[in-house]
């Protein structure tokens, strides 16, 4: 009898311990469920206000959605090989989602497929990649942006004029789409003569050089469109150098501060501005959703805005144009 009493007490004690253990176990599980999501963001370039703004938006989303964000980028926008390497590293690291802004539409397709096979969802941001495995595309509608630029440029130059394109990276999806949109619009006007579509490889100096060449080659050039920030800066410098500011109508892309100065000085007539902050924010948000296995929209258009001297100081545009408080 005494023995069984003892056994009984042991049983009760054991139960108490078990219950205490189950409590702490539960607490552990609870913590795990709200754990961080690891997201790698691979963009085209590790400098430039555009990418800094993308990063800023991404970081806000990372805070909001409890994401451990790993921001990776090559130094040079042309360097798609480095991007492939980074993709491979991310796959090896078993990150939970990858956000890719592909420098090359085709070159990064294979590694994107690989990531998908490894069970890592890939979110395409800013520039698309030639893979059907991509969960979603977040960014501007580049074709439309190209058309917007063309529409404004033709308004400025008139329907009979010579215009040129300073493009950035050949093979980058957004570059091609912008050019395509631009050229498709221009093609409606028989009087418009497109003198060239040249690639500067996101190199300001090369852009400047190409612009100067173009101006030399086509002295009657009336309009230039520069399809990204670096190209724009280069074109701006080339126009400065000619001292003919305002003679050649200039539509640029993105909003580096030096170009805003030129907008106020009426050297640049308008700029097509994307929403890098939204891109970064939405990309991370979608990455979290994709990592959780939720269905997400195939495309998220963050829109573009045509900014000119009249609307550049509207409060909502100021924050878009000057994302950083310095």
């Amino acid at each position: 009898m005494n023995r069984s009493k003892l056994v009984g007490r042991f049983v009760v004690l054991a139960l108490l311990f078990l219950s205490a253990a189950s409590c702490s176990l539960h607490a552990d599980l609870g913590q795990k469920s709200s754990a961080v999501t690891h997201v790698d963001m691979i963009v085209k370039m590790d400098h430039g206000d555009y990418w800094k703004t993308v990063k800023m938006g991404a970081e806000v989303a990372a805070k909001e959605y409890n994401v451990q964000l790993n921001f990776k980028a090559p130094t040079n926008e042309n360097d798609y090989a480095a991007q492939i390497q980074m993709m491979k590293q991310s796959i090896a690291d078993h990150t939970e989602a990858i956000i890719l802004s592909a420098s090359d539409y085709m070159a990064l397709a294979q590694v994107t497929d690989q990531a998908s096979y490894a069970g890592i969802p890939v979110i395409s941001m800013d520039a698309e990649v030639a893979s059907t495995k991509v969960k979603t595309y977040i960014g501007a509608n580049n074709y439309e942006a190209g058309q917007k630029a063309a529409q404004r440029l033709i308004q400025l130059t008139g329907p009979d004029s010579e215009i040129g394109i300073i493009n950035f990276v050949q093979g980058a999806r957004n570059a091609d789409q912008r050019a395509e949109g631009f050229m498709d619009y221009v093609a409606r006007f028989s009087g418009i003569h497109l003198v060239g579509n040249v690639y500067c490889g996101s190199d300001e100096l090369k852009a400047k050089r190409l612009t100067q060449q173009m101006i030399l080659e086509y002295p009657h050039l009336e309009g230039i469109v520069a399809l990204n920030a670096e190209a724009s800066i280069g074109v701006g410098k080339a126009i400065d150098a000619t001292g003919q500011g305002g003679h050649i109508q200039l539509i640029t892309f993105d909003n580096p501060p030096e170009m805003l100065e030129k907008l106020q000085e009426k050297i640049v007539q308008a700029m097509v501005v994307q929403n890098p902050y939204s891109n970064g924010y939405l990309a991370v948000k979608s990455a979290v959703e994709a990592a959780e296995g939720k269905d997400i929209a195939e495309r998220l258009d963050t829109g573009t805005k045509l900014i000119d001297l009249d609307n550049m100081l509207w409060p909502e545009n100021q924050k878009l144009l000057f994302p950083f408080v310095k």
Partner: protein, 593 residues
């Protein structure tokens, strides 16, 4: 029994009045009740205080931000006043001295971007530092300019904006502006004074504030324009929505906003000099985590307590009720007639005691039953003997013998007397089979006996019968005096040479009935007395057949051992036997016993 069986067994037959069920159920109900009550109370108390704490905490943080901002803005306001004083006291706006003064002021604070004075139509009068203006700045259409113009003499704070006036890098600034008087070459002029503060300090001040993981602080001006918002771009891009309308309705306070679908706690404070509102946004699910944690903890706690209580109470009640059940089984065995059953129950003290007492009781019952059996046997035997005595052939033979002798001698009267007495004697002896008769009848019986014996022994003795009248109606066992008289005759008188005497008396004393048979015979030794009362003293065949012992036993059996015979005897003096009986009246005792 394995543990499993022990735990399962109690569930097999649920009887609602079983101790085990009662204990388990009441234990459970009580504990659940208490735990639920305590849990609810604790939960409410804790969650209330957690909520209060959260609110307090948020309030304090917002207060802090507000204080910092007010302090900062007041400092700037002071600087503006110094600048204004300097300009007002200066005779010539373009004087070198003024420029130096303003430069000094500008250099004291790193976050002062520029000081500039414009005419009312937007022409630059003076600026420090002296940087040339950008074209196309459209300054007259900017908020700070228009407001200052519309409210002369009142210091205006603009919302943060991009300063695009001077050829220096674009910067986010807050412009303080006011319409003031200044002197240009001694002439008083009206102009708009502007001091730009770098927005960075305010931005960082606000950015540093953290309200939980998702919470944030934002600032709006009196018109609802965003001064600072960590997600300003998202709001402009339409990805986020901030319910500014309701915020504008409050200058101070806390409320819960659900316009974004999430429960958010909004805390508002107004920065006095600027009319800005500092708005703290905290997510209820975050600040109320304590409540959620507490809730889930309480539920787990409740569940575990429940399980433990269930197990413990089942176990405890099983422990308590098990010996009782064993006891019950034993009692049932006894009920079925097995008085040999000895219960060996250990367990709770009470149960142990109960089983001990029960065992004692069983033993007592067993003893009593044995006794009853013995008594019944004795009674039967006594009655049989009485039955024998009723038709004792020996006595009949002797009596008839003496009658024959008397008849031969022609003593007709004595024959008649003897026969009459014999007939009466037998009638009372039989008394329709009754065991109990009145004392009157009993005395009549013994009288008849004495008459017969006196004739038979040829008047060898005298006798006397004396009884109190009230004693006559008392009931007594029949044939209790006759054996004593017979004993007196055979052992006391028969052997005597002198005339014998037998006295028979009955009286009531202290609510008891006393009968006495006394003789003056030979008397008895003490051993003889003992023998008379034992078997050996029984003179079978010789007397009436019923011995003294039989009388003693019958009295004992009918009235209890408190009653019976007492002998007083002395050799050569005689013997006195006293019978003590309870008083039972004839009226009370209608039937036979």
């Amino acid at each position: 029994m394995s543990l499993r069986n022990r735990l399962v067994e109690p569930f097999e037959k649920i009887h609602y009045k079983k101790i085990q069920v009662i204990i388990t159920f009441s234990f459970l109900t009580l504990t659940i009740g208490m735990v639920v009550l305590v849990s609810i109370m604790l939960y409410n108390k804790f969650s209330k205080s957690a909520e209060d704490n959260a609110y307090l905490n948020i309030g304090q943080i917002i207060d802090q931000v507000n204080t910092n901002l007010e302090f900062y803005v007041s400092g700037m306001k002071d600087i503006f006043e110094v600048v204004q004083d300097n300009i007002a006291n200066s005779h010539d706006i373009s004087g070198v001295q003024l420029h130096e003064q303003l430069s000094t002021i500008l250099n004291t604070r790193k976050d002062l971007v520029s000081i500039a004075l414009f005419t009312e139509d937007g022409q630059l009068v003076h600026n420090t530092p002296q940087i040339s203006m950008r074209p196309n700045s459209m300054l007259t259409k900017q908020g700070w300019f228009e407001n200052a113009k519309q409210h002369p003499g009142v210091l205006q704070f603009s919302a943060p904006h991009i300063e695009n006036l001077f050829k220096q890098p674009y910067r986010w600034v807050v412009s303080m502006s006011k319409k003031i008087e200044y002197y240009e070459q001694g002439r008083e002029q009206a102009g708009i004074l502007m001091v730009d503060i770098n927005f960075k300090t305010i931005d960082e001040l606000s950015k540093r504030v953290s309200l939980g993981k998702k919470g944030y602080v934002y600032i709006i001006d009196g018109l609802g324009n965003i001064v600072y918002h960590p997600q300003q771009q998202l709001i402009y891009a339409g990805l986020k929505y901030e319910n500014l309308e309701s915020v504008l309705n409050y200058a101070y306070g806390t409320y819960v906003d659900e316009s974004t679908g999430e429960e958010r706690i909004i805390t508002i404070k107004t920065v006095e000099p600027t009319g800005w509102r500092v708005v703290g946004v905290t997510y209820a699910d975050e600040t109320m985590t304590t409540r959620k944690d507490l809730g889930s903890f309480m539920i787990w706690f409740l569940l575990i307590v429940l399980i433990i209580v269930l197990i413990v109470s089942v176990f405890v009640s099983y422990k308590i009720s098990k010996p009782l059940r064993v006891l019950e089984r034993s009692v049932k065995k006894v009920e079925d007639g097995d008085f040999g059953a000895i219960i060996d129950v250990s367990g709770a003290y009470e149960v142990e005691q109960l089983s001990k007492r029960f065992n004692l009781m069983i033993r007592r019952i067993r003893e009593l039953m044995d006794q009853i059996v013995k008594e019944q046997e004795g009674k039967r035997k006594g009655e049989l003997e009485v039955l024998h005595a009723q038709i004792n052939p020996h006595f009949l033979y002797n009596t008839l013998n003496s009658v024959t002798r008397l008849a031969e001698m022609g003593r007709k009267e004595e024959v008649v007397t003897t026969i009459t007495s014999l007939s009466k004697f037998f009638r009372i002896s039989l008394s329709k089979g009754k065991h109990v008769i009145t004392l009157e009848d009993e005395l009549e019986h013994v009288r008849n006996y004495l008459i017969i014996q006196k004739i038979r022994f040829k008047n060898k003795f005298r006798y006397e019968i004396d009884a109190q009248v009230e004693a006559l109606s008392c009931m007594t066992l029949k044939l209790i005096l006759q054996p004593l008289v017979e004993n007196a005759i055979h052992h006391g008188i028969e052997m005597m040479v002198d005339e014998g005497f037998i006295g028979i008396y009955a009286w009531i004393e202290q609510d008891e009935l006393f009968l006495r048979v006394t003789d003056n015979g030979l008397g008895m030794t003490e051993e003889r007395v003992a023998k008379v009362l034992s078997n050996e003293g029984h003179l079978s065949g010789r007397g009436s057949g019923v011995g003294v012992r039989n009388v003693q036993e019958r009295i004992g059996l009918y009235y209890g051992n408190a009653y019976g015979l007492t002998f007083e005897s002395e050799l050569e003096e005689g013997t006195t036997v006293t019978i003590r009986l309870p008083i039972i009246r004839a009226v009370d005792q209608g039937g036979d016993l």
